[in-house]
Symmetry: C2
């Protein structure tokens, strides 16, 4: 009976004509124009599988962090208006303490009576100080911790995978993809963000090799004779509200192109592993699309050989709508049956993993419905700073950071140009500087690693200022240099800040 009901719902939602290859539930081609989720499933309640408590907790955290950054401009406006009053410093610090939770650097306030307050420096300093406090919170109180790292790793292995390596687009609207959109613990999942999801094959190949060696030598996360594989996923994105303009910039807002590029890169990585290592060495692959307005995902179906079908995918929006009136058990069964029917060639383990991701995503769809009316009001870019380098695992929030994952400005110049372009519109157009956090994580147990990370920070900061000399000269580009010892799992360490060398101690 449940089977019949499932089919009824599915037929009502997608229609046989939409699945030309006869796969039930797999939608063909670019999705037909569908009304935004908010309109279809008015925010009148929770999905039976949505985790309301977790949603409330995640929203409170997101809201708290964003509010801290967004308080900066209003506070500085107040401070600016006061700068020629007699008790300016006292008033300014009172406001800052109350609204921001910290005092402003005395050195930047003290000269206001002689000259104008340097609002650019002050703004950059506040962004960096807020970032530092945000990092400290993540690394000391673990607000996003799920406590389920080892459970997830165990589940992953029962699905046939020992490592999950995800490359989303570097777009800030996807920075929350691991912890929010897919509801995965962020520590056991490897995230490497690249513009357009076009990850570096050599980097992934190195990780594959390292992972295999750990399995062989140390039996972690499992021994090499376990029949599990390295799972590499690409997450591309699109916009259901404004598909022609707010999709992936790296692919000209062309969803089909973004998906195709993701598949091509995954295939290249797979072939790189197969051709470099013999004896059946390979990887498994997953292609996921994400609507940056609703956070709904779609997972492309795979055949029995693990090949990704560009034209067919399972959309979590459909699942949400088809199962929202069911009981928990009915909904779970519906999803399992739906995935198996839509992707019959897929291995049992991969099917189970897809069910896991799609089910998790229902909570996020619910989250966007409940807290953002079905789709975000900031459909476009609204990042608060640019993050350059290697690291930033603490950033799991949407539209907080534009990432440029790079070793050198020379190699990552194009990604950086995109980010600087975004911040020219967001900040420079309003007279505010571009705040760039240059960050390199390092392994403290490797001799000299800290010194090399420090050297990298300084080299990249120098190259940044050379690449954007006009911004730099006008005080419209500010950098904070930080490193972090991933072995110590502690706080970030602030090396330097362009706002003024004498501020470093105050930031510390």
């Amino acid at each position: 009976m449940l089977q019949a009901r499932r089919h009824l719902i599915r037929a009502a939602r997608t229609g046989a004509a939409e699945a030309p290859l006869g796969r039930p539930g797999a939608r063909a081609g670019r999705s037909p124009v569908v009304a935004p989720l908010a309109a279809r499933s008015v925010a009148r309640g929770m999905h039976p599988l949505a985790r309301g408590d977790e949603n409330a907790q995640l929203y409170a955290y997101d809201h708290g962090v964003k509010s801290a950054f967004d308080a900066i401009v209003p506070v500085l406006k107040q401070v600016s208006a006061l700068q020629h009053e007699a008790d300016f410093e006292l008033q300014a610090q009172t406001i800052a303490r109350r609204e921001l939770g910290f005092e402003l650097p005395v050195s930047l306030l003290a000269d206001a009576w002689v000259e104008q307050l340097d609002m650019r420096r002050l703004f950059a300093w506040c962004v960096f100080e807020t970032y530092r406090r945000f990092c400290d919170e993540v690394f000391t109180t673990d607000p996003l911790g799920t406590g389920g790292d080892s459970e997830f790793q165990a589940f992953l292995q029962t699905c046939g995978f020992h490592t999950l390596d995800i490359s989303p687009c570097a777009d800030g609207r996807m920075a929350h993809v691991i912890r929010y959109v897919l509801r995965l613990p962020y520590r056991p999942v490897r995230r490497r963000s690249y513009a357009g999801g076009l990850f570096d094959i050599a980097d992934s190949l190195d990780k594959w090799v390292e992972t295999e060696l750990f399995r062989f030598r140390e039996g972690r996360p499992n021994t090499a004779d376990e029949p599990t594989r390295y799972l590499k996923a690409v997450v591309y994105h699109y916009s259901s509200v404004d598909p022609a303009h707010e999709g992936c910039a790296a692919h000209g807002s062309d969803t089909a192109r973004a998906a195709r590029a993701g598949v091509e890169r995954l295939l290249e990585f797979q072939q790189a592993v197969q051709n470099t290592h013999c004896c059946g060495a390979s990887i498994d692959q997953l292609l996921i699309g994400m609507d940056t307005d609703t956070d709904a995902i779609r997972i492309h179906t795979t055949d029995s050989a693990g090949g990704i079908d560009l034209d067919h995918y399972i959309d979590a929006r459909d699942i949400y709508d088809c199962t929202r009136a069911l009981s928990v058990i009915e909904a779970q069964e519906w999803i399992t049956g739906h995935v198996q029917a839509a992707s019959p060639g897929t291995s049992e383990g991969m099917s189970r993993f897809m069910v896991h991701l799609l089910t998790n995503n229902l909570s996020q769809i619910d989250y966007v419905l409940r807290y953002h009316g079905g789709h975000y009001s900031d459909t476009g870019h609204a990042e608060r700073f640019i993050g350059v380098g290697i690291g930033f695992e603490e950033v799991q929030l949407r539209n907080l950071t534009y990432f440029a994952y790079l070793h050198t400005v020379e190699e990552g110049g194009q990604d950086l140009d995109v980010g600087i372009g975004i911040f020219k519109r967001l900040n420079v157009a309003h007279g505010l500087p571009v705040p760039v956090v240059v960050r390199y994580d390092y392994h403290g147990h490797v001799p000299g690693a800290r010194e090399r990370a420090t050297g990298r920070c300084r080299r990249v900061a120098g190259a940044l200022n050379e690449r954007y000399p006009d911004l730099s000269a006008q005080g419209l580009l500010h950098t904070l240099l930080v490193i972090r010892d991933v072995n110590a799992a502690g706080r970030i360490e602030v090396l330097d800040c362009s706002v003024g060398a004498h501020l470093t101690q105050e930031i510390h």
Copy 2:
């Protein structure tokens, strides 16, 4: 009796006072002022262990290649003198064919009657064309081939090592260290040259990981349960003729500093392996010094824990002098006894390997005696071009190439600056341009690898011209862009040449 004789010779050469720790034969501290080898061992004949035939073959090859490069300037002088004559092109091509073995590009000669010949372009073109022909010879006729690749690999394993990874200084006077100075086959030995021998630890760590995985998965070069190790060697250098000026520029011609830096880097690499991988993971290390005037090496002694003794080493010059009057068998036994006595804590396998290198080096000392009167006349830099990128295994000749092993100009800028400084004195001071070959090797069986190597070449060439805008604008910096598929083991592929786009086809 032989034992007594050996000790007699040793005592006569080094004296007890020179080995304060009581190790026979191990010389202490910075070497006492010793007359150059030529003066001590007049070039009156071959050492019993020197391979005269190989020396003749290696000399002929070196001489042939250098002569080809060195013919360029005299030919261009002749051509320049003729440029306003009526049958200029005919005469120029006749001379070029006869002296260089190839014709000059018609496009560069054709306009000579209108304007001056562009000698800078012509010079760069000739250097690049000679380089291309030189590469083709290496990759098609294998003039340096020993045919002993697999024998060497087998011997290495009997000594307790499965990989030999050598980092010499990037100085062009050490480019022949593998094939000439140490008389090793160049294909099975990994060479990574860095200024001052200060190799990149992350690069070596990646190679260590990859090597171990191949042992585990594919049993090559041997299975992981074989008790062999990865042997990493650093070769620093000094000058016996002009120690204060012609030593290692990266270490201010300070031999002790160069040696110490090498040991520190080796220890850091060892600790990086030990701390990143458990279960007894480690490497073995070797520190070698080389006199760039005589090509004599000295190998630092090691203790039973594999620790390198900075203050004690075994000098091949001493061995040469002490054994030159012996028979082949006597000499071999003398060297074995000498190494064991000088480095009693060293493992039997490492001792055997040290004996192998020291014995091989006797041929090179003989080579320099016979063909260069005991020391090279070009004690300083005399490189013919700069090689930038990853590759250049074909360059096994002294003072032919200044290497800058790099992925980006941003990271390798300091090495490049040193190279450009050398070529300002060698070429620019005489109005000639700096010829730079930008080269990236790639694995053709990895999808997209050729495109990535091509992209790297173009990016690095662009960054080079940006870094040295004055040279670039004056036509004093020319680049040849080449790639090579190491899986195909074929010729290099020319991508582009700054001499003029229309020349690329002619170069091909």
